[in-house]
């Protein structure tokens, strides 16, 4: 049953890809076919993986291709199924949204090609999460990278999109290179390409090899996940893609990196040395903090969201890092708590970030700009989009009772419990990480006040914003699914946490959920004795009760006594959009406080005719320094270019020289063969 559903999902995606490519001359048919196949495939994949989680068994499916050495086989174990559920939910919502979103592109762009790559991306994602051997995994990984590249640079007439696509491709392949080395090292020990032969294998290596393999995997998968310092492609590539693709990229494509890390850290490794956990935790903290700090400085709505993906990957990795440390310290129950925190946040981030990107897509779709400073007042023109975006903003800020709060609370609990597990100074890591997580969450809230208020509230700041139209019903339906997902994953926390039992059982050998659910299934606790509890359901019920009992009747009564009038604005008449606070102004205090990081540069030029005291026009320019690009990647690029220039001498263009190279290589290989 599981294999039947899964295979039909894959087949439908593949068929949808081919069909929409075949229909490329008929844009309407291509759009409908592509989106319908994507939707159907996602629903099948979702049901297959939901069954797989609840049956908590592994299903192995051999695909009828390949040969004995390079077999094409998938295995749906609880961890794979969990990531596939995430994929299914997000992909279903995004596919539904795409029906309406792509309509505007009909006749202007090749929707056949779009449908092809879109379905191919979904299929390869499902296969990345389930591939059961190195060869098949890397093939799926490459198909995913290439189809994502084609979708990112889909609007290829824009130079920005082309550059971002190339950067993505280069970084992605650098990452794949690291993965290939790591997998080859493991294969050379196990003698097999199958993932099941790697189970706990990495821990039997010598410490040096263990560390090397770990770092290769961490950065190889880290590139895809957007881990600082290998994140630089992410804020470039996610915003330039069409918004439905951005939602997939931020929601699930970067999660393939998270999946890879979870697979390696908790399946291939046994109890790791403690430094590994420390490294992951520290990188998580740095990613979370830098992600949100750079997000605060953005006024491009989609770039802002892209930076927040880096922040949230950081939060996920804080959970993973803590789990690794607990494993090293021999605390499987706490490790399960931390792993659950990280995995829970993975799903949550897929829902709210998918939702926010879809919301941003609707906004960009109808205002034709990504610049927040040109938006404003959209809550009146796009009320449903605004509500959905608000749900996403509250969820990503980690505010109760939505899902972001639950997973951040679990992360705090894991970090708090960590302090008592060891006597060494390492334990200081936990509270410091916790306090920086608090800073991250509070800065994220500040950032989403900006990201919601500037585009949606007050007066429109431009004509495009004043003429905005509400999104089409299918787009709203797509957003609504994810908004409901945020609410359900928040309120249903005590029910959802049971889903993790098969995963923790498989990876850590313990089930945590029965200890984590208390008060007749109403409250969540960290599972430690006397640990604190939260009940998101309780909070929501009390809010609803109070709202229905007091807020509604009183608001109606007071409404009769209220009048609409101009904003008081301290008695200054004539409020216009020019008076409004801007996104840049909103984040100015933080730009000044963190100026050591941002190194802001600004330039003001006044034009005047008679006297400098009466300027005619001002030109203001402000930017912050891209630290990593300038101090890490630019020197690296220069080195590579210099080395390439030197190597050009070998490639002189003379046939004789090339023949000589071939001859020399042949001799060397022969010598090597004879010796071996």
């Amino acid at each position: 049953m599981i294999s039947g559903l899964f295979l039909s999902g894959i087949t439908i995606w593949l068929a949808g890809a081919m069909a929409s490519l075949a229909l490329w001359r008929k844009p309407v048919a291509a759009r409908r076919t592509g989106c319908a196949a994507a939707l159907a495939g996602s629903l099948l994949d979702l049901s297959a993986s939901a069954f797989a989680i609840f049956s908590s068994s592994s299903t192995v499916i051999g695909l009828p291709f390949g040969n004995p050495v390079f077999s094409w086989a998938v295995r749906i174990d609880p961890l794979s199924a969990y990531f596939n559920v995430t994929l299914g939910v997000l992909a279903a919502a995004v596919s539904l949204y795409s029906f309406g979103y792509l309509r505007e592109m009909e006749g202007r762009r090749n929707l056949g090609a779009f449908g092809f790559f879109f379905n191919l991306l979904l299929m390869s994602l499902a296969l990345v999460f389930t591939a059961s051997n190195v060869f098949f995994f890397l093939v799926a990984w490459e198909v995913m990278a290439l189809s994502a590249f084609c979708l990112v640079s889909f609007e290829h007439e824009k130079e920005e999109a082309r550059n971002a696509g190339v950067l993505f491709l280069v970084m992605s392949h650098a990452g794949s290179g690291l993965l290939l080395i790591a997998f080859l090292l493991l294969t050379s020990v196990s003698g097999s390409l199958d993932f099941s032969s790697f189970h706990l294998l990495a821990s039997s290596l010598s410490p040096l090899q263990q560390g090397t393999v770990f770092l290769l995997f961490l950065f190889g998968f880290g590139v895809k996940a957007g881990l600082v310092p290998v994140h630089i492609w992410l804020p470039e590539a996610h915003p330039v893609a069409p918004s439905n693709v951005s939602a997939l990229m931020s929601g699930i494509v970067i999660k393939t990196g998270v999946y890879g890390m979870a697979r390696v850290f908790f399946d291939f490794y046994g109890a790791p040395p403690i430094w590994m956990g420390t490294v992951v935790l520290a990188l998580g903290v740095v990613s979370a903090l830098l992600g949100v700090l750079y997000a605060l400085m953005e006024h491009d709505l989609k770039r802002l969201l892209a930076w927040h993906s880096i922040e949230n990957i950081g939060i996920i990795l804080m959970g993973f890092g803590a789990a690794l440390m607990f494993r090293a310290l021999g605390q499987p129950n706490l490790a399960a708590l931390a792993l659950i925190a990280g995995l829970y946040h993975t799903f949550n981030h897929a829902t709210f970030k998918g939702l926010l990107f879809l919301g941003a897509g609707s906004v960009v779709h109808s205002t034709h700009t990504r610049n927040m400073e040109k938006m404003g007042g959209l809550i009146r023109l796009m009320p449903l989009t605004a509500i959905c975006f608000l749900v996403g903003a509250v969820a990503i800020s980690g505010l109760p009772p939505l899902n972001g709060f639950v997973s951040e609370w679990l992360t705090y609990q894991a970090l708090l419990a960590g302090f008592g597990t060891t006597q060494s100074l390492t334990r200081l890591m936990f509270p410091i990480a916790g306090s920086l997580l608090a800073l991250t969450a509070a800065l994220a809230a500040a950032c989403f006040v900006k990201a919601f208020a500037i585009p949606f509230l007050a007066l429109p700041r431009s004509e495009q914003a004043a003429d905005a139209k509400e999104a089409t019903p299918s787009m709203i339906a797509g957003m609504a699914i994810l908004a409901v997902g945020c609410v359900v994953a928040g309120l249903g926390a005590t029910w959802l946490v049971r889903v993790f039992d098969p995963i923790t059982q498989q990876t850590l050998g313990v089930s945590a959920s029965s200890a984590m659910v208390t008060a007749r299934g109403m409250a969540l606790s960290p599972g430690t004795p006397h640990g604190g509890t939260i009940s998101t359901v309780g909070m929501a019920l009390l809010f609803l009760l109070a709202g229905a009992a007091f807020a509604l009747p009183l608001a109606i009564r007071w409404g009769r006594r209220s009048v609409k009038g101009p904003a008081w604005d301290c008695g200054l008449p004539g409020l216009t959009a020019d008076n409004e606070y801007t996104a840049t102004a909103f984040s100015k205090p933080l730009r000044m406080i963190f100026s050591a990081l941002y190194r802001p540069r600004r330039e003001i030029q006044a034009e005047y005719e008679v006297s400098p005291y009466y300027p005619r026009a001002f030109r203001f320019e402000s930017e912050i320094e891209p630290t990593f690009e300038k101090h890490l990647y630019e020197p690296l690029r220069q080195r590579i270019m210099a080395a390439a220039t030197r190597m050009r001498a070998i490639q002189a263009g003379s046939i004789n020289a090339y023949l000589a190279y071939i001859f020399i290589t042949l001799i060397l290989l022969l010598l090597f063969g004879v010796r071996g």
Binding site: P400, G420, F456, A458, R561, K564, D569, E580
Partner: protein
């Protein structure tokens, strides 16, 4: 059933005491500055007056503006029911602990900041921007102090934290607790918008933080927001005193003990109010960009608290 009764009593205490604390602080401050002051009951009169008035809703505002007072008010009340006031047993301790309290207050702040920007007035935006900045910077220090307290109790549940405090009445003299107390006290000043971070009595819009955000509110909605602000102040003060000075905190709610508990609560609140008044009178408001330094001090104190938990 008992839970409901406890919740109702605590709800009543929160609603009734909060304006009183504000009034006492204002009166004491006036006396210390050799003014007469409007009397400790003035906040009640203000609320009564505002609730009977009509409202002006700005034309530029959306439904966020009207929903915010309710979210802020209910969120603050809900947070208030999660803290131990009279007895160590918090009425809604099961619904959330200290983290939930902080995040519920954060939910209110999030919506207040949205409504500050909602009207389009630049003063509102200015207030929102400053409020979010300062609260974000206060957060790490607060979390370190809370971690210190929570590590002692092994829990983030406030019932457990207060219970652990009752067990060791004089624990607050330990270095870790003193540092954590100082850190949390500085955070409390920043969070409740008191001098030297913000001046609740200011009339100059450009120096406002909290007041600037709510500049456009009038009538009952203004009353809700101001009431919520004083409840938030009471909640944070109670949190501070009951986690660190557990004197008179009852193990359970019922019987004669509850009256003793309320008496002790009032006495401790009065003491803390006096301290706040003294601090507000001898200090001037800081420049906005000096506030991060104050919060950095709080963060350092929090770190010291953590380090001292295993040094002493």
């Amino acid at each position: 059933m008992e839970r409901i009764l406890e919740s109702v009593i605590q709800l009543f205490l929160l609603l009734a005491l909060a304006p009183l604390v504000t009034g006492v602080i204002r009166t004491l401050k006036a006396r210390l500055q050799t003014r007469r002051g409007p009397g400790i009951l003035q906040p009640y009169r203000n609320l009564y007056k505002l609730f009977r008035k009509g409202m002006v809703i700005p034309e530029t505002a959306s439904w966020i503006f009207s929903a915010t007072p309710w979210i802020v008010f209910f969120g603050t009340i809900l947070a208030g029911l999660m803290i131990p006031m009279v007895a160590a047993d918090a009425p809604l301790g099961l619904v959330g602990g200290v983290l939930a309290v902080i995040y519920l207050l954060g939910l209110g702040r999030f919506f207040l900041a949205l409504s500050g920007l909602d009207t389009g007035s630049s003063f509102g935006g200015l207030g929102s921007s400053r409020e979010m900045t300062i609260s974000a910077l206060a957060e790490p220090a607060m979390m370190l102090a809370i971690f210190t307290v929570a590590i002692g109790a092994g829990s983030t549940g406030l019932t457990e934290i207060a219970g652990a405090a009752i067990g060791q009445t004089w624990r607050f003299l330990a270095p870790a607790q003193m540092f954590a107390f100082a850190a949390l006290a500085l955070v409390l000043i920043a969070e409740t918008g008191r001098i030297p971070v913000d001046n609740p009595a200011t009339h100059l819009e450009l120096t406002m933080i909290h007041e600037a955000m709510i500049l456009e509110y009038s009538g009952p909605y203004l009353a809700l927001v101001e009431w919520a602000a004083s409840i938030k102040q009471l909640v944070l003060m109670t949190l501070l005193i009951n986690c660190f000075w557990p004197f008179g905190l009852q193990p359970t709610w019922f019987g004669f003990g509850a009256l003793v508990g309320i008496g002790w609560l009032l006495a401790k609140l009065l003491f803390l109010s006096c301290a706040i008044v003294l601090l507000e009178t001898v200090n001037a408001k800081m420049r906005l960009f000096r506030v991060p330094e104050l919060l950095a001090v709080a963060f350092t104190l929090g770190s010291l608290a953590l380090v001292s938990t295993f040094l002493f």
